[in-house]
Symmetry: C2
Subunit: 377 residues, 2 copies
DNA sequence: CTGAAAGCGCTAACAA
DNA sequence: TTGTTAGCGCTTTCAG
């Protein structure tokens, strides 16, 4: 650790060759005589040589690195200066139960996308830089985006990770792939990877109608500005129409993707005795909130009311009853994004690349009722 | 997108100054006359100039980037070539219940550490590169480590992210901070950030003895090679000794940190009628497996037997009964690791930095019995 | 198959 | 305050 880091020059000298040959053994070993190659490799690990990524990237004009921007998971709260203090301590607290919102949902969602990106990046020999978008102000975000974008060949942005205007500026300077959705008025200009929201929802709702003969169906939707939410609602309407029901007559509740809000709404519906036969929710969080309210009121699912979600988050598989939902292929979203980005980097002026990944409708107890334990096993 | 990326030279020409002045406006704006600064900034965004990270790093001899290595979450399985195909599809499947292992636990754990690193890196103006250690062979890992380490100023390694020998080589060439634990025979040589495993466990076990008067206590441990597991066992023994019990007489079961194995072990104990008064597990996964087995057998927790875990994973707060456990400060682990790394980078030859973070014993229903719903609220 | 030399885009003395 | 210039460590023609 005391001596400076060795460079190609050191290796070259140590092996008695020129730096060009050192470079070659690293990049195109087959173009070097086995003998020289050997002595160079020997020198390399004798010196503990690690090629400088910066120099490499500068000379090669490629960083072999891509960046992934994920949306803020706020509630990280206090940006207090962190103090390094060693303390062999263990506090003890009585941890009371607290019903209500667990905020780990998104974490898992993003985590899986990240995994997909990593997986594919790894296969492509790329390094992955991540930014969880912790910056609170637009200025902060801009700073981070600036820092990162100079260090990478291209970037992947999960929807709502940064303000649209930053996005617009960036995509002009750098290959950029969006996951899930792009600014709604500029969709065609972006390289895009998304899932079949519309089809997933329509398939699910058609099943509800066909298999469970429901007709009074209500819909709980997300925020206004969410393209995902829009597409899902389209699918919902499409299914009703296809089965001869009038979508305009189906009540819409604005749950804003929030478990808490959904919980409150469900309580209101219960107290007003306004429950439909089926409540189709635009995401799992809301559906879980609804399930929670129903459970507290002692209302049976699905006997009295069917509830469905969308996304396929882990919790949907743990709830009681387990939630019928539409599972998104998160891992594949990540992988596809990287593939798309790589294609774009090697192919700067092809037209916008757009991919739509298939989803899976998971029928579970919240609509099917009791299911046996994996009959095939 | 058609024209090449602009450089300092372009900006300088466009603004009618020298490249040095451009560089200054970026790094030390106060050292440039406001007028010139303005015209330069104008030129910068007229051209959409983004400084090259590589060139910068090369010249400044710092990348302003650090890397984080997280352990493999295997079961990613198939490294099949990923095919980009658009298909507006939705498959429907009946999703039967499947008890048993959910593998999302670790994901959340790592995720939180990652968040902590990001948070602190962001505050320090550093970019963060991550590697989830997807390489299956040592060779793969070595490749990735090589690629990444050339691109960063230092790295943070979560325990068991890479083989010890790779670790040993790396730490000689690069500032390196370990999270959780280092190769057991070389602890003092590493910069380390960890939690009070020993103290956490002893505090918990003392509580069990003092408040619940148990004396027949059994221990379920992790893998042989886990320093964490060792420390926790030490704490366990310490508590028994402190209360006049003989640790050597407490049965140890090797659950290997696996939920499934713990499940099986618990079943055996049940069928042999060998249940202790309290079963202390070295991590939450195992405790959950035990809880599961107990539940299936209709054995009441904590009335008939107390069960405790360690880590404080999300699921420990959702199980029935909720699990008494020792919560690790995951976010702070990440933050502390970055702090430590920064210190080390600015201070190459100070002695090894070691930090121990306090833990929190969370008393919940699996030892306390029914608890009211947050009485303070 | 190997070496010499010209950059890659930026930073940081040193001059002016 | 601004400009000149010498690298940073590597890749990549082009000769040999």
């Amino acid at each position: 650790m005391v001596d400076k880091k060795p460079t190609v020059y050191d290796v070259a000298r140590d092996a008695g060759v020129s730096i060009a040959t050192v470079s070659r053994t690293l990049r195109t070993p087959e173009a070097v005589r086995p003998q020289t190659r050997q002595s160079i490799n020997a020198a390399i690990d004798r010196l503990g040589y690690i090629p400088s990524g910066s120099a490499r990237s500068l000379a090669a004009r490629r960083t072999k690195t891509i960046a992934l921007f994920l949306p803020t998971i706020d509630e990280l709260g206090s940006l207090t200066d962190f103090q390094l203090t060693t303390s062999d301590e263990a506090k003890t607290v009585l941890d009371y139960p607290h019903h209500g919102v667990h905020n780990h949902y998104d974490a898992l969602y993003f985590d899986t996308v990240l995994r997909g990106c990593e997986l594919e990046a790894w296969r492509q020999g790329l390094s992955l830089m991540v930014s969880l978008g912790l910056g609170y102000t637009d200025e902060d975000v801009a700073r981070v985006v600036g820092e990162v974008s100079g260090k990478v060949d291209g970037i992947i942005v999960l929807a709502r990770s940064m303000p649209d205007h930053v996005l617009q500026v960036l995509r002009r300077r750098l290959p950029l792939v969006m996951i899930a959705s792009a600014p709604s008025n500029h969709e065609e200009e972006f390289d895009l990877v998304r899932v079949s929201n519309r089809k997933g929802m329509s398939t699910l709702v058609e099943h509800l109608i066909d298999a469970h003969h429901v007709s009074r169906i209500a819909y709980m939707t997300g925020p206004e500005d969410s393209p995902d939410s829009d597409k899902r609602y389209e699918g919902f309407c499409e299914a009703l129409t296809a089965r001869g029901l009038n979508p305009a007559a189906a009540p819409i509740y604005r749950g804003l993707f929030s478990q808490q809000i959904a919980f409150d709404i469900a309580n209101t519906l219960i107290s007003q005795d306004q429950l439909p036969q089926a409540l189709v929710c635009a995401n799992d969080q809301m559906a879980l909130g609804v399930l929670n309210a129903l459970d507290k009121a002692g209302i049976k699912v699905p006997e009295r009311i069917i509830v469905t979600g969308f996304d396929g988050i882990t919790e949907s598989d743990i709830s009681a009853p387990r939630l019928t939902t539409v599972k998104q292929p998160m891992l594949d979203l990540g992988r596809a994004a990287v593939e798309t980005l790589v294609t774009r980097v090697n192919n700067p002026d092809s037209p916008a690349l757009s991919t739509e990944l298939p989803v899976t409708v998971l029928l579970r107890e919240s609509c099917e009722g009791p299911l046996p334990e994996c009959p095939s096993a």
